[in-house]
């Protein structure tokens, strides 16, 4: 469990993090979202005990990070931004070093090392120097380091940055697998990540929390929530279809993409459009290539609340 209370970090004139309070519980994967420079990394660093807050507190499973730093850090697995490591070491050597710092010994040390090397597919490069690895491998070494001691709380700062789509999928599967009994915070600016792994998302802008909701709740804030998009087959029907959609009583406005022959009807607040649009298409003989109900666009929500 992670708890922060009025966490604040001020630099000379800049308030990087401003009164951030939240709680994350076991079983939760909390996405920490925000534009670059919004204060995500500063918040992560304060929770992980790397920098001291100007005001407020953070605790890991009840251990205050400033008053009981060792107890808190023992329960925490942390992937710092950019996944730093010691470049001159081999992957295995580096993980063994972390295992020693984490106090792992004997059979537990062996099985945990083997587990993370297998789980993050590092076997082939275990003997290689970290400096010689690709960005994707280095990121995975960083994740391996963070989960090595099987911590109950995990903070991952941009875990999928620099990974290819397959590797991203792998890491997300890993996070989902671990989610059942751990508290996980994932900081990211990749929005698809939120839908893929998070049970809850906090959006932060200019150091303040501006939204704290489930991914579904966030997409429901989109003006595209419950909008209906259709793609026409024949260009000559475009103008008529557009006018007919706009005339529907429940439609608030219509967005048109003439080149793609695509029309999007946005509903009035709370209205359901799909049946009406479907009926309209049948009535006026529109030849449709596609008809879809939108759940909402996260990128649009993100833009509207962070700018």
């Amino acid at each position: 469990m992670i708890k922060t209370e009025r966490l604040t970090k001020r630099y000379d004139t800049l308030t990087a993090v401003d009164n951030v309070s939240f709680e994350a519980r076991p079983g939760e994967v909390l996405g920490f979202l925000g534009p670059n420079g919004a204060g995500k990394t500063t918040t992560m660093r304060m929770i992980a005990g790397f920098i001291a807050p100007s005001e407020g507190t953070a605790s890991i499973c009840g251990h205050d990070i400033e008053r009981e730093p060792l107890a808190a850090k023992t329960l925490l697995g942390y992937l710092p931004e950019g996944a730093p490591s010691y470049g001159e070491m081999s992957v295995r050597g580096f993980l063994e070093f972390i295992a020693d710092l984490r106090g792992l010994a004997g059979a537990v040390r062996r099985t945990r090392l083997q587990h993370v090397i297998e789980r993050l597919a590092l076997g082939a490069v275990a003997a290689q120097t970290i400096d010689t690895l690709s960005k994707g491998f280095r990121r995975r070494v960083g994740i391996a380091q963070a989960i090595l001691h099987d911590p109950p709380v995990l903070i991952l700062d941009e875990p999928t940055d620099g990974l290819d789509p397959n590797q991203k999928h792998e890491v997300r599967t890993l996070i989902n697998e671990m989610a059942a009994d751990k508290t996980i915070v994932v900081s990211t600016h990749i929005l698809e990540e939120v839908a893929a792994v998070c049970t809850r998302a906090i959006i932060i802008a200019h150091g303040r929390i501006v939204a704290d909701d489930s991914p579904q709740g966030l997409t429901a804030r989109s003006r595209y929530h419950n909008a209906v998009s259709l793609r026409l087959e024949r260009a000559e029907q475009f103008a008529a279809a557009r006018a007919a959609l706009a005339a529907l009583p429940q439609v608030d406005s219509v967005e048109a993409d003439e080149a793609g022959l695509r029309l999007t009807a946005l509903p009035r607040t709370g209205a359901q459009l799909l049946a009406d649009v479907n009926a309209l298409a049948a009535r006026s003989g529109l030849a449709l290539q596609a008809l879809e109900l939108e759940s909402g666009r996260l990128d649009e929500v993100f833009r509207s609340i962070t700018t």
């Binding site: 920098i51 850090k73 942390y78 931004e81 950019g82 010691y86």
Partner: protein, 244 residues
Amino acid sequence: MSHVATITKRELAGYFATPVAYVFILIFLLLASAFTFYLGGFYERGQADLAPFFNFHPWLYLFLIPAISMRLWAEERKSGSVELLLTQPVTLWQAVLGKFFAAWAFTALALALTFPVWITVNYLGSPDNGVILAAYIGSLLMAGAFLAIGSCMSALTRNQVVAFILAVVVCFAFLLAGFPLVLDAFRAWAPQPLIDAIASLSFLTHFESIAKGVLDARDLLYFALTMAFFLIATAIVLDVRKSE
């Protein structure tokens, strides 16, 4: 305590992961011999002791120790690994000491590899080996004090070159603290007790008697306190600047 050992071990292995360690040791040995046999007039003096060898150590350390210490923290801060290290369950102290001991152990190794000089003097004559041992211990202590200064300077910056230059300048000031070059800067305005205090900080004065084989508790304490002071300073500087 075991964390200090873990960090020391990793750090020490890091020195030998690149050719830097070997190049350093080679240069250290070459310079130490050159100073002893050419500048020190080891043969010409006709005395069975290692005074010409030890007398040059302060000057040798002035440039070579900052070369070891410059990467201690500057590199960790530049690569960001300092964040990884300090979010493990280790205290800042364990990290500062672990890295310092690694650098010191490495210096001790370089110093130990000067043993052919000792063999030479024993082959040529019959020196007082107790004096030589005392001088070795003193030299190692002085190296520790230089390293602690270098550690602090390295914590100040992310740039190794800046760390090197700062360390050379501060070490130079400490080396010559008892000499007019440094004292004249204070004579004009500082009260006499302060000038005396500064003069008593000189590495050279404290090393002089040790190099003659006199292990005075005051000299040993002086180097120990210098080390402690600059290691505490390292921790304070890191605590303030680690994330910048």
